[in-house]
Symmetry: C2
Amino acid sequence: MTISDAQFLSAYDASQFEHPSVAVDILIFTVDIPGRLELLMIRRDIPPFCNAWALPGGFIGMKESLDEAARRKLKEETGLDGVEIEQLYTFGAVDRDPRTRVISVAYFALLPKASLHVFPGPGADRTAWVGISLPENGTADQLQVDSGLELAFDHRQIITTAVNRLRGKLSYTDIAVGLLQDKNRFAIYELQKIYEAILDQKLDTPNFRRMFLTSFVSRGLAEATGEDCLEYSKRASKYYRLLPAPQK
Amino acid sequence: MTISDAQFLSAYDASQFEHPSVAVDILIFTVDIPGRLELLMIRRDIPPFCNAWALPGGFIGMKESLDEAARRKLKEETGLDGVEIEQLYTFGAVDRDPRTRVISVAYFALLPKASLHVFPGPGADRTAWVGISLPENGTADQLQVDSGLELAFDHRQIITTAVNRLRGKLSYTDIAVGLLQDKNRFAIYELQKIYEAILDQKLDTPNFRRMFLTSFVSRGLAEATGEDCLEYSKRASKYYRLLPAPQK
DNA sequence: TCAAAAGTGTTAGCCGTACACCCATGC
DNA sequence: GCATGGGTGTACGGCTAACACTTTTGA
């Protein structure tokens, strides 16, 4: 008990008066036309990591929740409101930011690339969609970034964690639909390309079709619109639309 | 761009000089003999939430990572070192602590109940193993706590999140082995009781046995010791032991 | 005619679930 | 003999992976 008290007090008191900064970083994933998984990043034009690429992020306000801070950042970067975001993980290594102690709560969102307005914020001179690839269950050192861009802070680690989580969730959630251009009119083909981009592997078309029919249509998450799609093949296919989640 | 800048700066500047506090809360789960899922909690003897029950936790030090802070807390509460802990989620509602803004990073660990030394720390007058139960995919208001104890802060929400996560991980990880009394000598029966306590439902014994053989033994995570177990049945069964993870 | 995508069909294997049934043994 | 846990067997249904095959139609 005395040992425990001593340990407790030493750490407790130290932190009572000095607080770390708390930030959110946002991973905004998209899939571009050729089927590549990309991430919205900004190039820093101030130290530290000047000229390196970083995830959009910023410090949280005292009067906003973490989720609100993440949504605010997303809006600042893309102009988009009301998008589904999800907390990924919280990164808290002591030296992850060379300036001062910063705890960063990472969030991610999936957005169709088209029609996003993207602005560089303060501290950055440009933004870009950066292509990323990672082997199955890959580690941070296996992450490949577009033309080997240098990444700031521990963002290589954050991205790796996010890609692995994203892939894991593909199999048991409908998370990928966030990347559809038009949730009211899409072809199975589009969704398959999205899955392939995220997983970085080709999928068997007949089997993917069946997966879609059982996991989405049969479960009431999507239905055929009745319209024919001629965008991707000479032979007509069907358009589908997402349905509002079946609230119980 | 101007709109974005203005929004950004207002929130950014505000947080530059005032920082939230950052804490870790630890969920230490155990299963007691009758097969009940329990959580180590402390009773607060200072406001706010005086006399209410809370998760052990505390503010992080400036020179320790989040993981280190969580391990330190765990050691203070149980005297145990080197236990596997896992980050659960970060809770950051503005008013989750009435005193001041506190961001809490929750961690959880699974520990066998026996042979834990548990100390109440400062701000608490006692500790207890509190039985909890929750319907499948239950929400915070469906969480049942031992004799309806009052819970402090948003800990009802934190616990609910943890129980649901724990249950989810049961099916695709070996997380439950953390609750075995002796990882070098256990019977399938013990593991089944652990699963049943976590899931709060009876499992089919023959099927559980097959699950164990294929998921643990065939995959090299466990092996029979060769010794017979007579603790749970008149008829002898086998003892098993865990094997070190097959590093690749 | 060829290529590319839309579909249908078929196989084999794996897994989870639900049972029926026998074994061993202490009470 | 009965209850309790140990253990084998079996059968069904759902799902995945792999792959063969037909259809449609523009270039």
